[in-house]
């Protein structure tokens, strides 16, 4: 049994690992490739800060949406007239212009996230090429499993992808479905 299992594992290894003394060299090379991934850096500096950056972007966009809504609510609900209304509009417009500065901050945060994702993708590609990886059965974490089951059962797939149905298309579908 053990010999059979051993032969099978041996057969799965690249050529170098099957040569005498090759296994140790292969393991050392694999270890170097894994270390080259910089897993601690990925988990800490790349993914770790990406969460913070995304939270910040969400917070910033929410704040700006609040400013815009407050402005609209204030102006629509205002009973001021003439010069008083003009002053109110000017004051609120300046507030909107100030709030528009959020784009600079969120842009910087999003750029950092994009760079991190590129770095992660590149390191994974290099690692995959180095070890001649082939996808087997993918092990999903708890978060992915929950998400996947909800996607299937409740079609919780997030905002429609580009090319998804338009309002007119949906209206026609609803009409046809009776």
């Amino acid at each position: 049994m053990t010999a059979c299992g051993g032969e099978q594992r041996q057969a799965e290894r690249p050529e170098a690992a099957r040569e005498p003394g090759g296994a140790a060299a292969y393991i050392a090379e694999l270890r170097a490739a894994i270390n080259g991934l910089g897993l601690l850096d990925l988990a800490g500096r790349k993914l770790g800060t990406a969460h913070l950056d995304i939270d910040d972007v969400l917070g910033q966009t929410r704040k700006v949406a609040d400013v815009m809504l407050e402005t609209a609510e204030c102006l629509l609900g205002s009973t001021a007239t003439g010069q008083a209304y003009q002053s109110l509009v000017e004051e609120r417009m300046i507030g909107l212009m100030e709030a528009s500065g959020f784009q600079d901050l969120t842009g910087q945060r999003l750029n950092r996230i994009v760079h991190s994702l590129h770095a992660i993708e590149e390191r994974l590609r290099l690692f995959a090429a180095h070890v001649q990886a082939q996808d087997g059965e993918i092990r999903l974490g708890t978060h992915e499993l929950v998400r996947k089951s909800r996607e299937v059962e409740q079609m919780l797939a997030g905002p429609g992808a580009p090319g998804a149905m338009t309002q007119d298309g949906i209206d026609e579908l609803i009409r046809l479905a009776g």
Partner: protein
């Protein structure tokens, strides 16, 4: 087509900004009696407490989605005929068909404008 602006409306969305946008648009259309709930579970509780004339619900919410809320409403003897509009970013054909099969009265895709909201409300509860 005219709208009965005394109609009590329940807006269901877990994103407070969207709730505020829809409530403001409804206010502009003349609706004053507008409540909100942050997900399907909270909405069901409100629907049991007060008689609403229309539900405008998002699809993607946790823990109970708008789709699940719709199914609950349609299987409830008291609520089954309550007009229900889904307002969502879910614009995939299968989602629209699923919502229609579950009994949705109309379906609005985000982002939308005031005119679309008005037209859909008129189509569902216009007099």
């Amino acid at each position: 087509m005219a709208l009965d602006t005394s109609l009590p409306i329940l807006v269901v969305d877990d994103y407070q900004t969207m709730v505020r946008i829809i409530k403001n648009l409804l206010k502009q259309l003349g609706f004053e009696d507008v409540d909100d709930a942050a997900d399907g579970t909270a909405a069901l509780a409100k629907l049991k407490e007060k008689k609403y004339g229309l539900v405008i619900s998002d699809w993607n919410m946790e823990p109970m989605t708008g789709y699940e809320l719709l199914r609950h409403v349609r299987s409830d003897d008291v609520l089954r005929s309550l007009p229900f509009i889904m307002v969502t970013a879910e614009s995939k054909t299968e989602n629209v068909i699923a919502a229609k099969k579950a009994g949705v009265n109309n379906y609005i895709v985000k982002p939308f404008n005031a005119q679309t909201l008005k037209a859909k409300i008129e189509a569902v509860v216009g007099i």
